[in-house]
């Protein structure tokens, strides 16, 4: 433990950007190029000021990053059944629970790559089931990947190339700087002017304001229910292939409108369909996502088109990626048989708790404090941010530090390609998930 504290302190002192503002009496440190770990697009241009331990986002802020970075750390301690204990005692209690457990469930998994590496090792050792708090969203994409595959792209390609961007079932408003960072650019590599970009929205209750270009060019908006997006896309697919459709309307949208959009899609030089699997919260959303991917493939026969999935909050992309390289499978995996057993449906948190297939729960959430750890009638361990409010009393609770705020680390962006380094911007009295699980692995 001591060693770890020492280690992180050393790292902290090494941060090159730290500068002492000598003109004021108080210590002000300014840290540049800070990666924000609080949503899946990982903006890494934040400028953060630390004044006597008080953190402020002073440049490139958004409401989400501001709230999360600037939130004061409440006092909290490790607890066993609500009673304050030392960290050592709490770790011993975790070991005792996991030792007794036949099949534990490790869920939440809101951690960084370092934390996830420890999760994997501990899961292998204890025969655990693994699922992420955004597991439902993750598998909507995974099922498509494993069925027919896809053509996808990344943020820098959208920024520089995309002349037609279709938001399907999402307005990207949960990713607050998405439009600022990749759509409405000051400059792009191939002189793609903002007014030459065409934005389309398909779905319900979408806030389409962000899609208005800086000079006022308005997006195309096709209003329909989330359940109908797939139907609209497959009709577009049919039109693109040259089929004629014998009705006047599909899902309340005039065929003429769809025909016009189909023409735009064929004429695009680099089209992108953006979806957010979490927001496609309908039964068998994977079929809707597959519709996106299949029209993208078809259009790629003649022009360039690609898909882009917005997600990856709470380290979801990181958990999925690390799980895949260490076990061979994406989430959801069960290690109870001594080897990784993959089943995207069966091993969901909801399912294994409901069916009583697990006899202990380890919940991890080191980014957000409102991720609703499930209440289960089995021994429960919660590693969560110190301000976490639970509606039950877990057997063991340890307040943990947040990667990218309290300690360094690495996190994957929503595109699964770019991983970014996380910085430490303040000192925290709390321990990292990585460090806690490392100690559990050593002791168990």
């Amino acid at each position: 433990m001591q060693q770890f504290a020492q280690h992180y302190n050393n790292k902290y002192l090494k941060i090159k950007e730290l500068s002492l503002d000598k003109t004021s009496s108080s210590k002000v440190r300014t840290i540049r190029n800070v990666t924000c770990p609080f949503c899946g697009i990982l903006c890494d241009d934040l400028v953060i000021q630390n004044q006597n331990g008080k953190v402020k986002v002073i440049e490139n802020r958004c409401p989400k990053s501001t709230t999360a970075f600037e939130k004061e750390l409440p006092e909290n301690t490790p607890k066993i059944k609500g009673k304050k204990v030392s960290l050592e005692e709490a770790i011993d209690a975790i070991c005792a629970i996991l030792k007794k457990s036949h099949t534990p469930l490790f869920a939440g998994l809101g951690t960084d790559a370092g934390g996830m590496r420890q999760v994997m090792q501990l899961a292998d050792k204890t025969g655990a089931v693994l699922d992420h708090m955004h597991g439902d969203a993750l598998i909507r994409n995974t099922l498509v990947l494993q069925d027919l595959g896809w053509i996808t792209t990344t943020m820098a390609e959208i920024k520089n190339r995309a002349d037609l961007i279709i938001f399907a079932g999402t307005d990207a408003s949960h990713y607050l700087r998405f439009f600022e960072r990749v759509i409405w650019n000051k400059q792009s590599l191939f002189n793609l002017k903002n007014d030459k970009r065409h934005i389309v929205y398909i779905g319900e209750n979408l806030n389409t304001k962000a899609g208005i270009s800086p000079t006022g060019k308005r997006p195309t908006v096709l209003n329909c229910k989330t359940e109908q997006i797939g139907e609209i896309i497959s009709s577009l697919h049919a039109i693109v292939t040259g089929a004629s459709i014998d009705v006047k309307e599909i899902a309340g949208i005039k065929i003429k409108t769809l025909e016009k959009l189909a023409e735009q899609m064929k004429a695009a030089k680099y089209g992108v369909i953006v979806w957010s699997p979490a927001e496609l919260d309908i039964p068998h959303a994977e079929l809707t996502i597959q519709n996106f991917c299949e029209i993208v493939k078809y259009l790629t026969r003649v022009t360039r088109f690609a898909g882009f999935s917005l997600g990856g909050n709470d380290g979801a992309t990181t958990a999925n990626s690390v799980c895949a390289w260490q076990s061979g499978y994406p989430l959801r995996v069960n290690f109870n048989k001594g080897y990784p057993d993959y089943d995207a449906h069966h091993y969901s948190t909801r399912n294994v708790l409901k069916n009583k297939e697990v006899d202990a729960l380890l919940w991890i959430s080191s980014f957000s404090s409102n991720t609703n750890a499930p209440r289960a009638s089995i021994p429960t361990i919660v590693l969560a941010t110190p301000d976490t409010k639970l509606n039950f009393r877990p057997d063991v609770f340890i307040p943990v530090s947040t990667p990218g705020v309290d300690h360094t680390g690495q996190l994957f962006r929503t595109d699964s390609v770019v991983a970014l380094p996380l910085k430490q911007v303040r000192r925290s009295p709390y321990t990292s998930v990585h460090s806690i699980l490392k100690q559990v692995i050593e002791k168990i």
């Binding site: 292998d124 595959g149 820098a156 390609e157 520089n160 790629t300 990626s321 061979g328 080897y339």
Partner: protein, 551 residues
């Protein structure tokens, strides 16, 4: 602490030792001279009749990074028949075409390999590649950074920036991504595909930048030379898999005008257009060109029959090949104005004319290229076959009658067209030691690896000689890594981590000014965060960095 390996038969081509009985002494992880008579030997291994070689080195194997991870995620059915249980020592995982990192490390070691090099690290994906390599235990590793389709480089080349500035950029990339070499994949073609070009010949122009693959290869080969990077430019040429590409490959050899160049998985680039099916072997012509041009080295990228997955940076040709996907699913990705990738599962069938001919073409290349110092044993894992098929491939090379037996089982027409039956050559153990140890180490500039002389790192493999070379090379008696026994009788007995090899070529830091401007305007991450700190590789305790000297 001294360890002595006694009575073994040593194959150490770097020192010209061809199957001689020699004693080997190990001290503190290194091979050392025979100590004075009064020095205590702590441990003696009597290896009477056993074969001793340096640990094997795979110069081109896709073991880590984004496209491999896509392959893993996409193909649960690939893993199901090859699930790997945890043991007291080792972690669980799965094997076959896209194995988990842990299983890959274990299996390489169990086959006598002590170093593996990931050939296609996209700079934008370098952080992931290093994380995966760090999670690949047992072996040393390293990666070649992929350039040539990145917009920064193409802008420089098309605006006729001087070569020095381009070399500075290449030097910066090696440092920033912790690479050991530079690779170019379908030079400029991955970029051209983003502009909807579907093919790009050696002298065809990228429609936006107006530069050709020839320009790109020459510029990068020069940069590699000027920076003193030991491994020559690692080239995955134009027109992969396209019948007739034998001419492209011959032109590419001429294009570098005597500069050093490594042509990778050349089997996929040695196709002619003769015969009824307009698909024929170009192996003889390629081998002749390799024999004549001492500046060129190759690895083969042998295909072997069965199910695998092809994972490549060559999005253009992977897209073209997706029609042959088996099972019918595939991924293409454009990546960060940097590169791209394509992942297409594929089944090579011995009764299929084209696949059978590909098999013979690879073997013809192995057998017709004279100098084993310039040809390395690869299957371009997993593109031609999983790396676990290396012992089978070695048997095909060492055992002519076995090879001819196999030849008689493949597509008859392909077998008839091939000259393979008429080639008598059999590789010797000495040849194998060159092509799987000495030569790759030399090509990568790993001076204290790939041989058994004093000062070498004690990465050593001990085999029992057997007539069946597949059996022999599948299951070494011992594997030593840094002087410790890590494998006994083909099974892991100790888990180690291995190191990551990198380079630190010098370059003018002034290049960062234009890079910073470029990143600020066009990229979606900052220049500072693009760079990979030593700490990131070392921090979690799995990794250690070895900086290799430049030339």
């Amino acid at each position: 602490m001294y360890i002595k390996l006694t009575n073994g038969i040593v194959y150490d081509p770097v020192h010209g030792i061809n199957g001689e009985q020699r004693d080997i002494y190990i001290r503190d992880g290194y091979i050392t001279r025979k100590p004075a008579g009064n020095v205590k030997i702590n441990q003696v291994y009597d290896l009477k009749g056993k074969i001793i070689m340096a640990g094997a080195i795979d110069i081109h194997t896709h073991i880590g990074g984004g496209k491999v991870n896509i392959a893993r995620m996409m193909l649960p059915e690939d893993h199901e028949a090859d699930l790997v249980r945890k043991t007291k020592l080792t972690r669980s995982g799965c094997g076959h075409a896209a194995p988990s990192t842990l299983t890959a490390g274990y299996r390489y070691a169990e086959m006598g390999y002590t170093a593996c090099f990931e050939p296609a690290m996209l700079p934008a994906n370098a952080r992931q590649t290093h994380m995966e390599m760090a999670d690949t235990p047992m072996v040393d590793k390293g990666a070649y950074a992929m350039l040539g389709s990145d917009d920064f480089f193409l802008r420089m080349l098309s605006s006729k920036k001087d070569q020095e500035a381009i070399s500075d950029y290449v030097g910066w990339i090696i440092n920033a991504t912790q690479a050991l070499g530079i690779k170019v994949v379908n030079p400029g073609g991955i970029n051209a595909f983003k502009f909807n070009q579907r093919k790009l010949d050696l002298d065809e122009l990228n429609q936006y930048y107006g530069v050709s693959p020839r320009d790109i290869i020459k510029s990068l080969a020069r940069a590699v030379t000027e920076l003193g990077i030991p491994h020559p430019l690692h080239v995955h040429g134009c027109n992969l898999g396209v019948p007739g590409n034998v001419n492209t490959t011959l032109d590419t050899i001429r294009a570098v005008e005597g500069m050093r160049m490594h042509l990778t998985h050349i089997q996929f680039h040695s196709y002619g257009t003769e015969g009824d099916r307009k698909f024929s072997s170009g192996a003889a012509e390629i081998a002749e060109a390799i024999n004549k041009n001492p500046n060129i080295s190759i690895d083969v990228g042998q295909i072997l029959f069965g199910q695998t997955v092809t994972a490549s940076g060559d999005s253009m040709h992977q897209y073209a090949g997706h029609w042959h996907a088996h099972p019918k699913k595939w991924v293409i990705m454009d990546i960060e104005c940097d590169a791209g990738c394509g992942v297409v599962p594929f089944k090579y069938r011995d009764k299929n004319f084209v696949n059978a001919l590909q098999w013979t073409i690879g073997l013809e290349l192995f057998l017709l290229v004279d100098d084993p110092w310039r040809i390395f044993l690869t299957t371009d894992h997993p593109n031609g076959a999983p790396f676990t098929s290396y012992p089978h491939l070695i048997r095909l090379l060492m055992d002519r009658s076995f090879r001819n037996d196999m030849l008689s089982t493949i597509n008859k027409e392909a077998a008839k067209t091939s000259t393979l039956a008429s080639i008598d050559r059999e590789y010797s153990l000495y040849d194998i030691a060159i092509m799987t140890r000495a030569a790759p180490a030399r090509s990568l500039g790993l001076k204290n690896r790939g041989h058994l002389g004093s000062g070498a790192v004690a990465d050593i493999t001990v085999y029992s000689e057997q007539k069946n070379k597949e059996k022999m090379f599948s299951k070494p008696d011992y594997v030593f890594k840094d002087g410790e026994v890590i494998v006994r009788n083909g099974k892991i007995v100790k888990v180690v981590n291995g190191a990551t090899h990198t380079l630190r070529p010098e370059f003018d830091k002034g290049i960062e000014k234009s890079l910073k401007r470029y990143f600020d305007r066009y990229q979606t991450i900052s220049l500072d965060n693009f760079k990979i700190d030593d700490d990131e590789i070392v921090e979690h305790g799995n990794g250690k960095i070895i900086v290799q000297p430049c030339m």
